[in-house]
């Protein structure tokens, strides 16, 4: 099966499609012309740079460099998680980056070693895109999970204190909140797993099929990826929450008020 490259001139034909939203926006004054063009412009620049960078590390294919890249991705994923959940970055960064790094790397290396059976565990072509997918999903799960956890404890602090007063230790008292937030964290992933193949063909499959792989190979990768995403999302959320407890609560088991961001 030949792979059709898209030439830069033919990419212009794709940009022509944008005439439709711009026309509609003009006609009924959606006022989206500017943001449409700005968004597409940004995307093009960002992806172009990402392409150059990926090309560079693909050519080098150096295991340590790849790991360093995953490290940088993990750094940003952790930072974004705490920021999006509107929690205190200073207090939570260390426990959260450690949890996210550990759970994603563990699942990633397991998949590379035992599922895909790679000879070189840190091969760029597998490590970087898989890490991106796992981290992206773990990020979404973590924002929902850890955000939900601390919002709930704050909203309903009485119940937490009541649990403490009737004999729970700190871990026992947060257990109901932990359960709820873990359910929230994996809900989307589970729904995705349920509906996959019927509602939508996921990106990795589409990409592989467009890239010339047989659909039968593509589905096997997809199954592996979905399971890996589910496991790493759950694992990183539960570890993040448990690891954050030590900094989040004071010595009396009460929530540290500094934990919450300004908009909380």
């Amino acid at each position: 099966m030949p792979i059709y490259d898209i030439s830069y001139t033919s990419l212009i034909f794709c940009f022509f499609l944008l005439a439709i939203p711009i026309f509609i926006s003009r006609k009924i004054r959606l006022e989206l012309e500017k943001s449409t063009l700005a968004a597409v412009f940004r995307m093009s620049i960002q992806l172009f740079l990402a392409g150059l960078f990926l090309n560079f590390i693909f050519n080098l294919n150096n295991g340590f460099l790849n790991l360093a890249c995953v490290g940088v991705m993990t750094f940003f994923a952790s930072y974004t998680t705490i920021k999006s959940a509107d929690l205190n970055v200073k207090k939570l960064f260390v426990p959260i980056i450690l949890s996210i790094a550990f759970s994603n790397l563990a699942v990633l290396l397991y998949v590379n070693k035992f599922v895909i059976n790679l000879d070189a565990l840190l091969d760029t072509r597998y490590l970087i895109p898989l890490a991106g997918m796992l981290l992206g999903n773990a990020l979404r799960g973590n924002v929902a999970g850890i955000g939900d956890f601390y919002t709930d404890i704050k909203r309903n602090e009485n119940r937490y204190l009541y649990n403490l007063s009737i004999g729970a230790d700190m871990y026992e008292a947060v257990l109901p909140y932990l359960r709820k937030s873990l359910r929230a964290a994996v809900k989307l992933t589970l729904a995705n797993i349920y509906s996959i193949g019927i509602v939508a063909l996921p990106e990795i499959m589409t990409g592989q099929i467009l890239g010339g792989a047989s659909p039968l190979v593509a589905i096997k990768y997809q199954i592996a990826i979905m399971i890996a995403i589910y496991v790493s999302t759950l694992l990183s959320t539960i570890l993040s929450i448990l690891a954050s407890l030590r900094t989040a609560f004071d010595e009396y088991g009460l929530v540290n008020k500094e934990l919450y961001g300004k908009n909380f």
Binding site: N156, N158, R159, Y162, S165, I166, G167, A168, D169, E172, L175, P176
Partner: protein, 128 residues
């Protein structure tokens, strides 16, 4: 115990199981006592299968009292624990707590039923 006990979501049985699953409370759930206290508090058996969030204020309060009694502590801090109960139950609950002479109670209440000769009264209204 506080008056607006906003406890676990889910069935009352689950709530009880959760509490008696804590390491500090293991093996303290006495089903015989549970039945007795429930009858005393006017709670029907089927309340255990109801959702805690859907109970009325008075029922929630009685579940709170029930848990407190089952835990069988020496010291109780009771903040308006009978506010949503009817007069008879107020009296019954107050009498029950007050009759345990070896318990230490700190009671905050608007209910006259808690007044008795030997309880030390701190009148907050006059001291403001």
């Amino acid at each position: 115990m506080v008056q607006d006990t906003d406890l676990e979501e889910g069935k009352v049985t689950n709530l009880l199981n959760e509490i008696f699953f804590y390491r500090a409370n293991k093996d303290k759930l006495d089903s015989e006592k549970l039945r007795i206290f429930m009858r005393e508090l006017g709670l029907e058996d089927d309340i255990l299968d109801k959702n805690f969030q859907e109970l009325s204020g008075g029922e929630k309060q009685r579940i709170g009292i029930l848990i407190a009694l089952l835990l069988n502590r020496d010291i109780y801090l009771l903040d308006e624990v009978t506010s949503a109960l009817d007069v008879n139950l107020k009296k019954k609950v107050a009498d029950y707590f007050l009759a345990r002479e070896n318990w230490t109670l700190l009671v905050i209440s608007h209910d006259r039923e808690w007044e008795c000769d030997w309880i030390e009264k701190i009148d907050l209204e006059n001291k403001s």
